[in-house]
């Protein structure tokens, strides 16, 4: 008996491998280096690994195909998401250090877990088979469950971790159940590129089964992207988790889930587009509305940003509903823009929060604009960007998403979408009101501008403005990336 080992190229998962190796090295160094001298260089090491992964991705840009027995895709769509993940993780690493040191938690595990989670995200974006997708999802999720509970002594962090774990496992179950149904309906295949044909040709029994599978998949993905009505965990987890982890979850996890969500639905279910868009239409409107309306009532800035992240999941669902090429482009563009503006906002939250998050109330921002003009201006910029005001990346992203919806003929969805961004304006404006128009209730005192966070703020602010004023290049890049969806 011979065993055929399929030919594969390690190069194809190069970025993921690099990050894995970096994470393992960090863990080993953490364990082996003598006490007291251990923590200094982990952020730098992680950044180095991320830079190497980015370089690797850049070198692979343009290649096309599958690898590892057709388990993963090697294409520009994957690479675009690699860039988003790497960017998100790098920015998270940079805002973490000072923050964690305040808590005495600047440990090797933290960086290793961040990198492991990034590897999971990469596998999700690359997966060409649903099992692969599930593996990626679990690699990512388990790392993030731990990260959310990083502050062991803090009951809120514990609560966040436990809540996320239990509900997350539950939703993974749904996802897996959906895949099982799909396996049956398709007659024994879970390859994304084989599914459309397999689902088309089978018995009358297959169709209801597929619909059920689609519904279950939507539940699973909906949980990860924090879409209503599966969003209940989001505010608690975002509030309880360490701020840097919250930032990471809001951009990274969401982007990864959307990467897989879009790929699966655009590739595997072209014949069921009418069915799933109908469902997603409702979810999109519900998500936007619930996110925005609930955000108005929040006084904790992290909770507010949690609801705003729910609302943004709603906008991104609009791009999925549109289900056309422009929709896919807008999804990629918006996720990148969202990474920049949201991490920027969380950077400000970390700076203003200071010593162990003692200033997380939105009223702590009163008078910020005149006590710390640069910080206030940066926060105002991120708020306007999140609200979708030109000339920021947020506006261009929304513009793309809504044009995709109009092109797809979803005029009402677009109208509901823009009305939602009007509602969202209110709570983002409120932050700017506090920053500029309210006198400080107490002297804010000095803000410790650590080099990492400062660099993140400068970079994200510049990125938000530049990609808002000159969005053409990114648009072309994203367009290049979504060419892989033939049906759109």
């Amino acid at each position: 008996m011979t065993i055929n080992i399929p030919i594969f190229h390690l190069n194809s998962i190069g970025p993921a491998l690099i990050l894995t190796v970096t994470a393992v090295v960090i863990l080993l160094l953490d364990a082996l280096s003598p006490k007291g001298r251990r923590k200094a260089f982990f952020p730098q090491l992680s950044l180095l690994g991320l830079a190497a992964a980015a370089l690797q991705t850049y070198l692979m840009w343009g290649s096309k195909g599958t690898d590892f027995a057709r388990m993963i895709y090697v294409d520009n769509y994957t690479f675009f998401f690699y860039f988003i993940f790497i960017l998100g993780t790098a920015l998270t690493v940079m805002i973490s250090r000072q923050y964690l040191e305040d808590y005495g938690k600047n440990m090797g595990e933290y960086y290793a877990l961040l990198l492991f989670a990034t590897v999971g995200m990469m596998l999700m974006a690359a997966s060409a088979h649903l099992i692969m997708l599930f593996l990626g999802l679990e690699v990512m999720s388990i790392a993030v469950y731990v990260l959310a509970g990083l502050f062991r002594e803090d009951p809120r962090s514990n609560e966040a971790s436990l809540k996320y774990l239990i509900l997350g496992s539950f939703s993974s179950g749904f996802l897996l159940f959906g895949m099982a149904m799909l396996y049956g309906a398709a007659g024994g295949t879970l390859y994304l590129d084989e599914l459309p044909k397999a689902l088309a040709g089978h018995s009358t029994f297959a169709q209801p089964l597929t619909l059920l599978a689609i519904a279950l998949l939507i539940v699973g993905f909906g949980f990860k992207v924090a879409s209503a009505p599966f969003h209940m965990w989001t505010p608690d987890v975002y509030e309880g988790a360490p701020t840097s982890v919250t930032a990471f979850m809001a951009v990274g996890v969401k982007a990864a889930a959307f990467a897989a969500f879009a790929r699966v639905f655009f590739l595997a279910f072209p014949a069921f587009r009418v069915d799933y868009t109908m469902l997603l239409w409702v979810l999109a409107v519900a998500t936007m509305t619930i996110g925005n309306v609930c955000a108005i009532a929040q006084t904790n800035i992290k909770r507010m940003l949690a609801y705003s992240s729910i609302a943004h999941a709603g906008y991104l669902l609009v791009a999925l509903v549109a289900a056309n090429q422009l929709g896919a482009v807008s999804l990629l563009y918006y996720l990148l823009a969202y990474t920049l503006m949201n991490l920027g906002a969380f950077g400000v939250v970390i700076l203003v929060g200071r010593k162990k998050d003692s200033y997380l109330n939105i009223y702590d921002y009163a008078g910020l604009g005149f006590q710390h003009p640069a910080l206030g201006a940066a926060m105002a910029l991120f708020m306007f960007a999140l609200a979708g005001m030109p000339p920021t990346a947020g506006f261009v992203g929304k513009f793309y998403i809504f044009s995709a919806a109009v092109q797809g003929g979803f005029i009402w969805l677009t109208i509901l979408g823009v009305m939602n961004s009007l509602i969202s304006m209110y709570y983002y404006l409120r932050i700017t009101v506090l920053i500029y128009m309210k006198p400080a209730e107490a002297d804010l005192g000095p803000v410790a501008f650590s080099p990492g966070v400062t660099a993140v703020l400068a970079a994200t602010a510049a990125g938000v403005m530049l990609s808002g004023i000159f969005p053409g290049a990114l648009y072309d890049l994203a367009m290049n990336a979504v060419k892989i969806f033939p049906g759109l």
Partner: protein, 511 residues
């Protein structure tokens, strides 16, 4: 390549902001001087626009076009015709005066104030020059932010935040719907012609089915009507005007409101001409309600700024009525009235600002007999008041006369009702003037008020010059817009004959 004068006008204030950022925030004189310098240079830069403008053609002039997002058909495409020329000149003309007016008024956060003012200037010129729908929308939204900050940061402490947010959300409400309509238009144009572009002039000739025009006209119209503001979307205006700092009110009244009327002229009517004709009764009646209602409410105001704010509703009603007559006289009158309103209402807000600086109250009841204490002030106030109530010889008369001419030509009834607005405006303005300026000094605090300083007189001098210039020889200005107006009327005339009923629109039968 021709000299990119419009781009310079748009981006020079931003350069000025860059300069201001490096100046010492403590030294107010230098900050104000620098801002004044920037505004004056900007005004000088805009002069060639006026003098080398070719008034015999309706085509766009000083055109600049650069690809911006080529794959999307978005370009940086700017140019001016008669309509935008006058409004851009108004903007560059008023901004230095506004900086001058802040000399003693604004004492806190001067640096940020000047930055906002210059950013606002850049945005306003951008709005008037943009010929690409996307570019227009970007400018239209961008300039909300500095205005929002002007009201919210430097406004009247009690209610400024409320007014600022109300202003922002109202405007935003209209403009997001306009965004949807822009997108629908874009894809419709792309589907019918195969070319995807946001180029406004290419879209002019498009024959859009009536039931699409109907909805898109309403969507664009809502955005502009809120900005104008037309009754019943005017409620943000009194709040914004009353709470804003003096200069904020001046800019708001003089230029920002014109964006609404300009939007009707530039976008709504030429893009959806059939719908524009269809909606003449609705919009004319709303304009008439605005004229009469605004005037009546003005009469009852106790706060001078609020009174002027409501008078704006009335005056802008005239402009809208003129534009919706689709006659040469009406449209020309509407345009000149936009400028007039900018000059006289701007001046009125300055007048109020100046006595507010002295007395820290704007209540009419707190004044009386100012003519004794401040004779120069009283004279200037009177000229401005007379121009606002359209006395012959002042600018207001030309505008309102032409509008009424157009209105009578198109519909006797509209003309008649509008004419009552002229009388009412005399009532509320003169009554206010009488209570504030004439009579005995009843309040001792008013007895030794200082009369206007040389700086303050210098602010009014150019305004008064133009008040009389337009009043006596409006040809200078009307000639600039004549060709554009004629072209506009011809374009509207072509689309006239459509007869459609409401039910056809809702059933989607109206093609």
């Amino acid at each position: 390549m021709p000299f990119p004068i419009l781009s310079i006008l748009i981006f020079f204030p931003l350069l000025g902001i860059g300069l201001l950022l490096f100046l010492d925030r403590k030294n107010h004189k230098v900050l104000k001087g620098a801002a004044l310098g920037v505004a004056l240079v900007e005004f000088i830069f805009s002069l060639p626009l006026w003098f080398s403008f070719d008034s015999t053609t309706a085509a766009m002039q000083f055109v600049e076009r650069h690809e911006w997002i080529p794959t999307y058909g978005i370009s940086y495409y700017i140019g001016v015709d008669g309509f935008s020329l006058l409004l851009i000149m108004l903007t560059t003309f008023l901004t230095p005066l506004c900086v001058l007016a802040t000399w003693t008024d604004i004492q806190t956060r001067v640096k940020e104030f000047m930055i906002c003012l210059l950013a606002l200037m850049s945005g306003m010129i951008g709005v008037f020059a943009a010929l690409d729908l996307f570019l227009f929308y970007v400018f239209w939204e961008v300039m909300l932010i500095p205005m929002y900050l002007l009201i919210g940061v430097w406004g009247n402490p009690a209610r400024r935040v409320y007014a600022a947010i109300k202003f922002f959300l109202f405007t935003m409400f209209g403009s997001v719907l306009m965004l949807v309509a822009i997108l629908v238009l874009y894809f419709h144009y792309g589907q019918t012609t195969g070319i995807y572009t946001f180029d406004l002039q290419k879209m002019y000739g498009l024959n859009i089915p009536f039931n699409m025009q109907y909805w898109m006209f309403l969507a664009f119209g809502l955005a502009f009507a809120i900005k104008v503001p037309m009754f019943p979307f005017h409620t943000w205006l009194p709040d914004a005007h009353t709470e804003a700092p003096t200069v904020g009110s001046v800019i708001l009244a003089a230029v920002l409101l014109k964006m609404g009327t300009y939007g009707f002229l530039r976008f709504n009517m030429p893009l959806f001409p059939q719908a524009a004709h269809y909606f003449v009764p609705l919009f004319s009646i709303l304009a008439l309600i605005g004229i009469v209602y605004g005037a009546l409410v003005s009469m009852m105001q106790k706060d001078m700024k609020r009174l002027i704010a409501f008078s704006s509703v009335s005056h802008l009603g005239f402009v809208m009525l003129g534009l919706f007559t689709f006659t040469i006289a009406g449209v020309q009158g509407g345009i000149i009235q936009m400028i007039n309103h900018g000059l006289s209402t701007g001046a009125l807000f300055l007048v109020v600002g100046m006595i507010y600086e002295r007395r820290h109250t704007r209540m009419i009841a707190d004044f009386g007999g100012l003519a004794t204490a401040m004779p120069i002030f009283a004279t200037i106030f009177m000229i401005v008041t007379l121009s606002s109530i359209a006395v012959p010889g002042t600018n207001g008369f030309i505008g309102e006369f032409l509008i009424l001419l157009g209105a009578f030509k198109s519909n006797m009834l509209y003309g008649t009702i509008a004419a009552t607005g002229v009388i009412l405006s005399a009532c509320y303005m003169l009554w206010m003037f009488q209570r504030v300026v004439w009579g005995e000094i009843t309040n001792d605090k008013n007895r030794d008020l200082k009369d206007l300083s040389l700086r303050e007189i210098a602010i009014f001098a150019p305004l008064i010059l133009f008040i009389f210039w337009i009043g006596v020889y409006p040809g200078t200005f009307l000639n600039k817009t004549r060709a554009t107006t004629e072209n506009f009327i011809a374009m509207m005339e072509k689309a006239k004959a459509t007869q459609v009923t409401q039910s056809q629109v809702f059933k989607g039968e109206a093609q």
